[in-house]
């Protein structure tokens, strides 16, 4: 059993491009890094039966989700040679075109970051209890399911 308390990965609302820029800038003092890879999930304006998604409202079983994010983080450090790694996920409403997931890995070598980012994103999609209500322009909704 782990003793360390998982960090809170959730951020209220969309993740701004400025937040991402600040996160990148913070790594410029880490001169052992040679390669970064950033994955961003963006809310798509999908059309379903003639209605268009205008936003997703995210909810989560937050304590369990943060524990899962923590386990994914530990597994990624175990499998890949990473200098650092960050995950942020939106909670609450995110409009189409806005960013809802920000995963950031850094390594001395580029060969590490490609499989690492894919591993982390797929683990998040499969194993973290986050739920998404797709809200249409007419205020009706449906529940998103990851594929």
């Amino acid at each position: 059993m782990e003793n360390k308390k998982p960090k809170n990965v959730f951020k209220e609302g969309a993740i701004s491009s400025q937040f991402i820029a600040d996160s990148i800038a913070k790594h410029q003092s880490k001169t052992g890094i040679g390669a970064h890879n950033i994955f961003l999930g963006q809310v798509r304006a999908d059309e379903v039966n003639g209605k268009v998604v205008s936003a997703i409202e995210y909810t989560a079983y937050e304590e369990m989700a943060n524990q899962k994010f923590y386990e994914i983080r530990e597994a990624a450090f175990e499998k890949f040679d990473l200098n650092c790694m960050h995950i942020y996920h939106s909670i609450g409403k995110v409009n189409t075109g806005e960013i809802c997931l920000f995963v950031f890995v850094s390594s001395p070598r580029r060969k590490e970051v490609f499989p690492a980012i894919e591993f982390i994103v797929e683990e998040i999609k499969a194993n973290v209890p986050v739920f998404g209500k797709e809200i249409f322009e007419d205020e009706s909704h449906q529940w998103k399911v990851n594929s």
Partner: protein, 77 residues
């Protein structure tokens, strides 16, 4: 025993609450499913997993803590 059951996403729409105390006398997760289906018949049409103490469990797991959550399909990212 008294369970504290959390409902998420579309399941909370059916139960019309996000958390409730639930008086339960069975042993296993499968018993709990049946008891919940009696209270909320619409749940039986839904795809969901159950977590005990924040860990996903299967139908034949025994219930040993009171922290239970019903989790619809994940949609993170």
């Amino acid at each position: 025993m008294k369970l504290a059951i959390k409902y998420f996403g579309q399941l909370a729409e059916i139960t019309e609450c996000s958390e409730e105390e639930f008086e339960f006398s069975g042993m296993k997760i499968s018993d709990l499913r049946e008891a919940l289906f009696l209270k909320y018949s619409k749940l039986s049409n839904k795809d969901f997993q159950i977590a005990q103490n924040q860990v996903l469990v299967s139908d034949d797991t025994e219930i040993t803590t009171n922290e239970i959550a019903l989790l619809p399909p994940f949609a993170g990212g």
